[in-house]
């Protein structure tokens, strides 16, 4: 795909995402891993920090800031689904099943794994490191 086109550039960044935000090493317990099954999510209001959504996508844990960069909506209250990849004319190519979240206020799409907005070159939501420590899903901030 050529990055000359805006949407191609957006999806290129899905493939090579930025590093997650991890500054202090502060660890926040989310819940026992047994309570966050594939397809589930938890929203964690970090004391003195941001609200963060933690997702289990196919057995892997991912976390994004619960704030839409557009108008500040609680992004992680949106629906999770697939999307269609940039395609040739009048073709539908489903992709990214279970990892695309649609903001509850305006419906703008974000990839939960990379945090990339799927509609322009630069929009993104912060992502965070998630680990399982002693059977507990844990955010590392």
């Amino acid at each position: 795909m050529s990055d000359a086109k805006t949407i191609d550039a957006a999806f290129r960044q899905v493939e090579s995402p930025r590093e997650p935000v991890s500054r202090s090493g502060r660890r926040i317990a989310v819940c026992p891993a047994a309570e966050l099954l594939p397809g589930d999510k938890r929203i964690v209001d970090v004391p003195g920090g941001p609200s963060i959504g933690v997702f289990n996508i196919g057995g892997e844990y991912h976390a994004i800031k619960n704030v839409c960069p557009h108008n500040g909506a609680p992004l992680c209250l949106g629906s999770v689904h697939a999307t269609h990849a940039p395609s040739e004319l009048h073709q539908f190519e489903p992709c990214m099943e279970g990892r695309v979240i649609r903001c509850p206020w305006h419906g703008w799409e974000f990839d939960i794994v990379s945090g990339k907005g799927l509609y322009d070159r630069n929009s993104r939501v912060a992502t965070y490191v998630v680990e399982v420590q002693d059977g507990v899903v844990t955010l590392v901030l």
Partner: protein, 357 residues
């Protein structure tokens, strides 16, 4: 002249046939009986200006007289002709519509283009027969180098983004000719507004922008500019400032609904600024010059806005009056000449000619 030494391209001049220059000799004899028997009928829009459409002080039936009265008078370097044939797609009978399209093209080539090198012709086709329309586009484009665009009406049986029209756009892209969408027959197939039929010409004419918006949304969303990356579209006489609204609204919706048209690889506004032009006439006249300048900024006028007069129609805009003095000179030149020159592949005149005229 407010425009000083800036050359001018008028994107909208409306020649008519006349007893001196009739259309009939350009229609193959095989269709004369059909036309005599009423088979050239179309439903018409049903809205006519109660005060007439042609200016009382002007006429556009004689190419040499129009060159003197209009091109010379306003120092117009090129004038794009848009004949009544731009509406042949609304002819009830498909074959007669095809014959009329060819006739209008040959009529321009026979009478108007040879009369003055400043005239540029518009290719009329019957969009209701896309295969024939593509053939006629190629024929007419090859018949004269100054046939410079495809001319289609605002009304159509399907929105212009529909893929049934793609063969016509493919022919345009091959020939390197833009599409010009001009009002025509809105209200002949369905209501000219999505809500219901207007009750006056005033309502009908003001609402023509609605059709343009619908057609542009369709052309962008269906991927016409993705499929034909060199294709350009000029929206003539359909309004100006709504373009900013449409770009912003379409972008915002696209951010949520992109996955329903995944073949769009750019933001709608990006396709529009690169592929779409609008003409000035009838120029919207905001309350202040500051608002006017804001409007130009919001629509990227330095790329998108082209000058037009609509000569000799009732809502004519003179080049000397249409742009406020506060419009910067370089932007004025983009609007009056450069944008259309780039669209049609035209050269600027040498200044000696302008000085001599």
């Amino acid at each position: 002249m407010a425009s000083g030494t800036i050359p001018i391209i008028d994107c909208d001049i409306h020649p008519s046939d006349s007893p001196a220059l009739p259309l009939l000799p350009h229609i193959p004899k095989a269709y004369h009986e059909a036309i005599r028997s009423g088979m050239a009928a179309n439903r018409g829009a049903g809205y006519s200006n109660p005060f007439g459409v042609i200016r009382r002080d002007a006429d556009c039936t004689d190419p040499r007289q129009t060159a003197r009265d209009h091109l010379d008078r306003y120092n117009i370097t090129y004038g794009v002709l848009q004949p009544p044939g731009l509406k042949v797609s609304l002819t009830n009978n498909i074959d007669v519509g095809n014959a009329l399209a060819t006739a209008w093209n040959d009529w321009q080539i026979a009478h108007w283009l040879p009369a003055d090198e400043r005239y540029l012709g518009s290719i009329c086709v019957n969009m209701n027969d896309p295969a024939a329309a593509a053939r006629e586009l190629r024929r007419a484009a090859g018949a004269h180098p100054r046939m410079k665009q495809l001319n289609i009406p605002g009304e159509s049986t399907d929105l212009y983004g529909h893929r049934r029209y793609f063969p016509v756009y493919e022919a345009c892209a091959e020939a390197g000719l833009p599409i010009c969408l001009h009002p025509g027959a809105e209200g002949s197939l369905a209501s000219s507004t999505p809500v219901g039929r207007p009750s006056s010409y005033f309502e009908w004419h003001t609402g023509l922008s609605l059709t343009f918006m619908a057609q542009l949304i369709s052309l962008v969303a269906e991927g016409v500019f993705e499929r034909f990356p060199t294709l350009k579209l000029i929206l003539c006489e359909g309004g100006v400032s709504w373009l900013s609204h449409l770009m912003w609204r379409m972008d915002k919706n696209f951010k949520a609904l992109r996955s329903t048209t995944p073949w769009l690889r750019r933001l709608p506004s990006e396709y529009i600024v690169d592929h779409v032009r609008v003409t000035t006439q009838p120029m919207e006249e905001p309350e202040t010059d500051a608002q006017f300048l804001n409007m130009l900024g919001m629509i990227h006028a330095e790329k998108t806005l082209c000058f037009a007069t609509d000569f000799p129609h009732w809502d004519f805009d003179a080049p000397s009056a249409v742009l406020p003095k506060k419009v910067p000179e370089d932007l004025k030149r983009r609007i009056l000449f450069d944008n259309a020159a780039e669209l049609y592949g035209l050269k600027a005149p040498v200044m000696a000619e302008a000085a001599a005229s």
